[in-house]
């Protein structure tokens, strides 16, 4: 029996519940209904290339990218530490997922209570110590902070899993061959953990690009990201064709970004395989 048939139930599921809805998006993106009936059109797609939408798209990709990088920088040492002392058991791991079990909206409101300029806990504290206050709510930094906060566990988990199972004998072999700690990290550990890193990047970057609650709350509604605009199309203007077109453009941009990042993972071991 070839193992690949184990994937069969999933493949069936996938075709019905992922492919078909996707086809519907294509359908909406490329058609328009008017007096003459249904017709094929590029007008939605063309509208998507107007500057105000491209700016939103660019900002979304940029903030998501920065947030992903910060997550990576924070998560990697964390995963290393956790993997090294993995006798702590899964509890240490659960402790990092646990915050995500409290509703996301509530946690974002809590950040407001902590970081607001006049009334926030942090600034009240700083003012008492006669230190300068942190006026962050409403700035892109707050948005990136919100994204990092929300997606950090998604980066930690896969990297930790990758690291925890690196064959100890490989590490020892490197040591025997004369590598010092830093060289070992660079030449052995990091390459072996790449699949986990790629998974992490995927699970952070993609949802980050489409988030709109974070910019609304932490960005004081001043930053319009692509997620907001797409939501408007489906709910406010009822222009589903345009909403679908924007989603398509977004999907393609993300796939391209991911493909660029994939160059370093030839065998698609990260499971994030593209092209």
């Amino acid at each position: 029996m070839n193992r690949k048939w184990l994937a069969a139930p999933y493949l069936v599921w996938m075709v019905i519940f992922i492919v078909v809805p996707l086809v519907m998006i294509f359908y909406y993106a490329f058609t328009a209904k008017d007096a003459g009936g249904l017709r094929f059109t590029f007008e939605h797609l063309i509208k998507a290339f107007d500057s105000k939408y491209l700016i939103a798209l660019w900002k979304s990709l940029l903030y998501a990218f920065i947030a992903t990088v910060i997550c990576l920088v924070l998560a990697y040492p964390l995963a290393l530490i956790l993997a090294k002392h993995s006798k702590g058991g899964s509890v240490t791991l659960f402790i990092f997922i646990l915050p995500m079990w409290m509703n996301f909206l509530l946690r974002t409101y809590a950040w407001l209570s902590l970081l607001e300029t006049n009334n926030g806990l942090l600034n009240t504290f700083l003012r008492a110590l006669h230190l300068p206050v942190l006026d962050i709510i409403g700035t892109p930094s707050a948005i990136v902070l919100g994204m990092v906060y929300n997606f950090l566990p998604f980066m930690v988990l896969p990297i930790y899993n990758s690291l925890a199972k690196i064959d100890k004998s490989v590490m020892e072999a490197a040591y025997d061959l004369g590598a010092n700690d830093f060289q070992r990290l660079l030449r052995v550990t990091i390459p072996l953990s790449m699949p986990g890193v790629m998974s992490g990047i995927t699970m952070v970057f993609m949802p980050a690009v489409t988030s709109f609650v974070i910019p609304n709350l932490l960005g004081n509604g001043k930053v319009n990201l692509i997620g907001n605009i797409i939501e408007q199309q489906f709910l406010l203007t009822y222009d589903w064709g345009f909403g679908a077109a924007l989603s398509l453009v977004l999907m393609i941009m993300i796939l391209i970004s991911m493909a660029v990042m994939q160059r370093s993972d030839e065998d698609m071991e990260g499971g994030a395989g593209l092209w």
Partner: protein, 354 residues
């Protein structure tokens, strides 16, 4: 694993088994029927539904939405056959225009007589055939009198550079454009592109002074004194003044938006009499009073309003005098082309920020 399955089974049994028995009770002719009600979140007193079921035997499946638009999307998809919807004025108008609503049989809704005269035959339902108002309010300026020492009576104050960084506007296309349009002396339902463009230009000009564009967060920000001025609904203004006595509400002289949320019956209704019984029940004076007390918004129900405390029923923020109401306009659906135009302009405004 087994224990969890058992626990789940017990839980399911407990929850579903509570459906109760239905007997034939002549005083409850509609007992045993079920209706689907779709309302704003947290917009009804906690025991109203229970009381309704107890009194009439009609079961209610109650769902909530967070905006007229998500309600509309869900409703139109035909995914659920709703019996009663409680949308806002412009949405009701849109549904009427699209032939989605059933005319009400007021013989089954005798309690509708308690609705104040001035709430009948409003723009969105001119013949008063399809709706019974539930709550209403105005859009106005909430200000902190410690931080704002002058009289607040015009939308102009939100463009005053003295308050730079202390102004909060609404993160909503219609409401923010309404402020800009009214300030320029135009209708907040303007379909004149030149007027809309002028309004957007004024908003872009105002932008550097604005601290934030928010929706529900306005309340907490103002209570916490993060800003001096904000655009807000009257119902929310009443809420905030409970927590911070420095906050006052004013309706500007140029006029503003007057909104009404009302109960309607869509054509997907499976049991019209039961739906009408629900609407009737909601207008029973005691129930209307309970709902008003819980929700805190302004009620169109004369008896319910009478039963309120002196403080609230004479609070000009909650119940402004007629001359103010005369200057208010209800939102009207702009039609698809103008809706897209407004929205594109809104995105232009947002793109120009920082």
């Amino acid at each position: 694993m087994k224990k969890i399955a058992l626990l789940l089974a017990v839980l399911m049994f407990v929850f579903t088994g509570c459906a109760g028995n239905v007997k034939n009770d002549p005083s409850k002719p509609l007992a045993g029927t079920t209706i689907y009600v779709y309302n704003w979140g947290d917009y009804i007193a906690e025991d109203t539904i229970e009381r309704f079921t107890k009194e009439t035997g009609i079961k209610v499946i109650y769902e909530t939405f967070d905006s007229n638009e998500t309600m509309y999307a869900k409703y139109k998809s035909g995914a659920v056959n709703y019996d009663v919807l409680i949308p806002s004025d412009y949405m009701i108008e849109k549904l009427i225009a699209e032939n989605e609503l059933l005319p009400l049989n007021f013989d089954n809704i005798p309690n509708a007589k308690y609705i104040d005269e001035s709430f009948r035959n409003l723009g969105y339902d001119p013949e008063n055939k399809y709706s019974v108002p539930y709550f209403w309010g105005t859009l106005g300026i909430l200000y902190n009198k410690k931080m704002v020492q002058e009289e607040v009576d015009s939308w102009d104050i939100l463009w005053d550079s003295k308050y730079k960084g202390q102004i909060i506007m609404m993160d909503s296309v219609r409401d923010t454009f309404a402020v800009a349009l009214k300030r320029l002396g135009y209708s907040l339902n303007s379909t004149d592109k030149a007027q809309v463009d002028e309004a957007v230009a004024s908003l872009i000009e105002q932008a550097p002074l604005v601290q934030a564009y928010l929706m529900d967060q306005v309340k907490d920000k103002m209570i916490g004194e993060e800003a001096a001025l904000a655009v807000i609904y009257s119902g929310e203004a009443v809420y905030t003044s409970e927590y911070n006595e420095n906050l006052e509400y004013a309706v500007p002289k140029e006029g503003t938006n007057f909104f009404v949320d009302a109960m309607v019956i869509p054509k997907t209704c499976q049991n019209k009499e039961a739906a009408e019984a629900f609407i009737n029940f909601m207008n029973d004076p005691q129930i209307a009073y309970n709902n008003t007390k819980y929700v805190g918004y302004s009620t169109p129900h004369t008896e319910a309003r009478d039963m309120l405390d002196e403080e609230i029923k004479n609070n000009p923020a909650a119940y402004p005098p007629q001359e103010i109401i005369d200057k208010c306009e209800v939102f009207v659906d702009l039609g698809p082309e103008m809706t897209v135009y407004y929205n594109d302009k809104w995105n232009e405004l947002k793109a120009s920020l920082r």
